[in-house]
Symmetry: C2
Subunit: 240 residues, 2 copies
Amino acid sequence: MTTLSTKADDIARVLEDEIVGGLIPPDTVLRQEMLSERFDVSRTPVREALRRLAALGLVSFEPNRGVRVRSISAHELHEAFLVRAELEALATEVATPKMTPDDLAEMDAVERRFGELTLELRDQARSGVTGDATLFVEWMQANYAFHDVIYRVAELPLVERIAKSARRTFIGDRVWRARAELDQLYAKNDLQHRAIREAIGAGSATAARALAREHVLSSNTLIEVVLETLGASGREPGWG
Amino acid sequence: MTTLSTKADDIARVLEDEIVGGLIPPDTVLRQEMLSERFDVSRTPVREALRRLAALGLVSFEPNRGVRVRSISAHELHEAFLVRAELEALATEVATPKMTPDDLAEMDAVERRFGELTLELRDQARSGVTGDATLFVEWMQANYAFHDVIYRVAELPLVERIAKSARRTFIGDRVWRARAELDQLYAKNDLQHRAIREAIGAGSATAARALAREHVLSSNTLIEVVLETLGASGREPGWG
DNA sequence: GAGTCTCCTTTTGGATCCAGATTCGCGGTG
DNA sequence: CACCGCGAATCTGGATCCAAAAGGAGACTC
């Protein structure tokens, strides 16, 4: 039985998830000793993990002062959506002529699931229940699953990697708290998915491309509206 | 007097340049001790630097076996061009309405310089001189300088960062050896730059966008043709 | 003679140790 | 009372040390 992975990589993956998931909020200072105790290792692999996160742009080193979780500005969030819009448009265009009937069937299945979750989520949002975030997380994952089918068919690993890393700047937790205002986004996303699916089914790469681009861009505008209504919402640390 | 930068970052920057510049060829195994001797430090900062390079995708860790400089496949190179095409198109579109007369003047100056170098390079290519690569490097830098004006005006740091990182997969050294076959690329690049400049000057964001996209894509096809004619060209280590 | 087992060298991953930088509190000074 | 300087506590960056994994040469077996 070989190790197959190094501790630095394991730690990096965990921290990565926690940062992009909003569990570790922006501007948090990560103390090396704290992390080394938590993961029960020395500071050496911790620092290597932090270097990786720094290269990914998730944290920033301030020499002799510590590492800080980077906060995403509104501008950066906007840019991330622009990047995703272009790259998902590209992936959709490339994927369209490569779609097999099986792939289309998978898209339908994923989309059906997404549609169901959308309904549930809209119900919950309208009823004003401030329940847990699990439903939202599921919905988000189903949303991504739809796009992931496209990425898989497109066979553009580099594009996929970059787009997914741009996807991460979208802090789920922050937006989740405003889910009551997201009714429009839920409905529109669902409709746009169907439109993309139909364009792909019709074999129109250019239409599918345009729809994919608009889909991401419209998500962007809605998210920005929501964040604006939220204003400078307070944020609990929930960590440290 | 503070340090302002850490050794790991310094080392990472140097290695980064050497890898993207082709000075350290793909598939090279980087021995930690060798690097620590070279930079006169211990292996600790060396490994942190390597972690950063790994996160950037320039090297890959093989647990307990070492780090290897990643070789870019033809498919990856193609993808990198696709990404650049989309993102430079986006940046050009965004930059167009923001261009001031001063910016346009700078574009003209940079483009003039690029045109001169293009002529020189075509002369050298036709004369069959197998001189040093400095002229090619200058030409490449002038080429990038043109696009950099657009990036600066667009004010999309994230887009710029991603596009430039995609730019790096283009190993200058490898293509340089085929410069005699690149006469078309030289001429076409120059003409396309002018077309982009004119579209921006005319304030047509959509035209500029389309031209920028085609510009990058046509570079791609030409590069691929060249690499194909080169076939599986041998490569000297020149290192280690 | 080919294949395999063993031992030794090399190299990596991780732990521990040390020097320098930053922070903070405390007392002195105008 | 505000301000400056000094020293301890804290934390980072880097060096050194150690265990374990991979690789390779030689002996041993069939």
